[in-house]
Symmetry: C2
Subunit: 399 residues, 2 copies
Amino acid sequence: MPNISNRGDLMPASPIRKLVPFAEQAKERGTHVIHLNIGQPDIFTPEVALDAVRNLPDKVIEYSHSAGNESYRRKLAKYYQSIGIDVDHTEILITTGGSEALTFAFLSCLNPGDEVIIPEPFYANYNGFAIAAGVKIVPVTSTIENSFALPPIRDFEALITPRTKGIVVCNPNNPTGYLYSKEEMKELRQLVLKHDLFFFSDEVYREFCYDDNKHLSVMHLQGLEEHAVMFDSVSKRFSECGVRIGALVSKNKDLISTALKFGQARLSPPGLGQIVGEASLDTPEQYFTDVYQEYIQRRDFLVEELNKIPGVVCPEPKGAFYTMVKLPVDDSDKFCQWILSDFDHEGQTVMMAPGTGFYSTPGKGMNEVRIAYVLERKELARAIEVLRVALENYPGRQI
Amino acid sequence: MPNISNRGDLMPASPIRKLVPFAEQAKERGTHVIHLNIGQPDIFTPEVALDAVRNLPDKVIEYSHSAGNESYRRKLAKYYQSIGIDVDHTEILITTGGSEALTFAFLSCLNPGDEVIIPEPFYANYNGFAIAAGVKIVPVTSTIENSFALPPIRDFEALITPRTKGIVVCNPNNPTGYLYSKEEMKELRQLVLKHDLFFFSDEVYREFCYDDNKHLSVMHLQGLEEHAVMFDSVSKRFSECGVRIGALVSKNKDLISTALKFGQARLSPPGLGQIVGEASLDTPEQYFTDVYQEYIQRRDFLVEELNKIPGVVCPEPKGAFYTMVKLPVDDSDKFCQWILSDFDHEGQTVMMAPGTGFYSTPGKGMNEVRIAYVLERKELARAIEVLRVALENYPGRQI
């Protein structure tokens, strides 16, 4: 019997994967499980996008251009230009979700064994893309006490080796909800110029910035034409997680032409998803206003209510729709399992993502969980009540 | 300015990529270019599949299960069972095209530096998947004189090293149209058992087998439960190249669970494509009969007419819709460029894929081209006439 690969063994399970059986068992017992663990919004996909695919004119669903349909790329470039990002359609590759944009960037920019520095906690799936590409993730730790702000630049400097080839940030951040400031982005700009690194910026939550904070894209920074690489996606912006359409954007022509070779090998990005993505660019402004209002209400409610629970610390997220929350527990992996396997409150419980899965440094995140506020307020209220009672009853409570 | 990766430099351009500018120039001159170079069929996508997406019921396009929708996998398993392949839905991962199935299999089964043996000429994009996964392709040469039959097993044996972890075949074959016989498949079975190798079989052209030849799947072979890995796709079977839906099928549970981890990292396969793929399984039998009749007519016509041209040798393909053809030319790369840049016949010319791109061994395929017969007969007739006249006039003619 042939063995599977070592890198298969290295692949971490997703932070919530080991909880799935316990959630299923809870449901089988008749317990209603409220999902705070996933980034699947309940927001409707724009009608204009659904209509585009419902009115599909084609008789043959053909391969598209490997970089994505030119009409889509041109329209997407116009959107970027409208928010001050100076790119044209030749500087954009349409990808199969933001996931593939990261994979293509890692494959195109980094050799096996090269290193990227990423502030932790970070989006857990970066681990998978890095392992697939043979790239080493070097974490630099941000802290809840500091609302997960960018760690000091000296902490980055201390981690730089001859193999360091890039910095990755997610802005606004999944899982913390932190929005990097203009000053922080400029500090990173200096760092990547000093060490000639790629600056990879995952900006799929760009539209979700609260409290009049403005999003600064890596593409807005001056003098980074060769260094800046932006990842984008329709998943969150238009509530189109399932269509798997993203984008890789850079003014570095070598990078784009190399990434396109990997794109050509897989022929083309999903065709129907591209139709949806292109049509989505005509979404009326009111849609975004409504979505924004909905999320800001959810966030305000969630943060206020969570911080009322004794021992719970929830910094106020400035973007995205996640928050990393500190809980008064011994071990959030155990707590997240216990609340599914051994607890219910009036027939209900909650599923959360344990913090450890978002850290590379062993032992970090053990008293944190990630909560996604992608549910309506009534459901969030129930979830918070369940959590409050659970924390009162959890045997591993630590306060 | 940071450098791109070495593996980016290693990525070969697709066999026809360098011809694209010449084809565009020809079109700008007003020359009609007949495309014999691509595997994009002109056959209509089944109505039942198009209707499924036109009647899209969802209000939110959500992530699907990372392995693909269970309803789709269950239905696909039934189809496989109907052709004697004993698998259930837990032994199937829905992937983003057959491309991703290969990538996941390479990542899951092979470590960087491991080797797979592939009969050449082979589908050129295997190179891209191998480079992305850090895997080395070791070619074993098949010959046009032998209609591209499986090379002798002793040729495989001679190439096996401690790093050899698998054999890859494409059956029916792209680019040769060869269909491996029961005897050849059994020889390969013995080989993989003897050396404990994975047997990767790309079967995306399964339905395109002519002259009453029956397709034998790797999954039909006894005793290979842990070794056999099948790749599939809706692209050719249902003329749905653009939806990017494929499948990875294996009874090796370690492999499936490892591949699923890579699948989880990229969240899910395309959602709309899955709707199309699942609905396609209800395509009426008449569709396949019609398509089969169409292709057999095209093949018979093409093979007969090509072999009438002096110096041209075209073996009769038993499957798929490609044929590797020997031409009386000095260098098929030069000829394929010349016919676009310096030639037209009554305002028309043809684009073909030069043979060298399908071989790993340098110098092989220099007098071969791949021709796809995915055009209607009238167009094929014009293409053959153009080719005949071009060969009479080509300065590098060798006969």
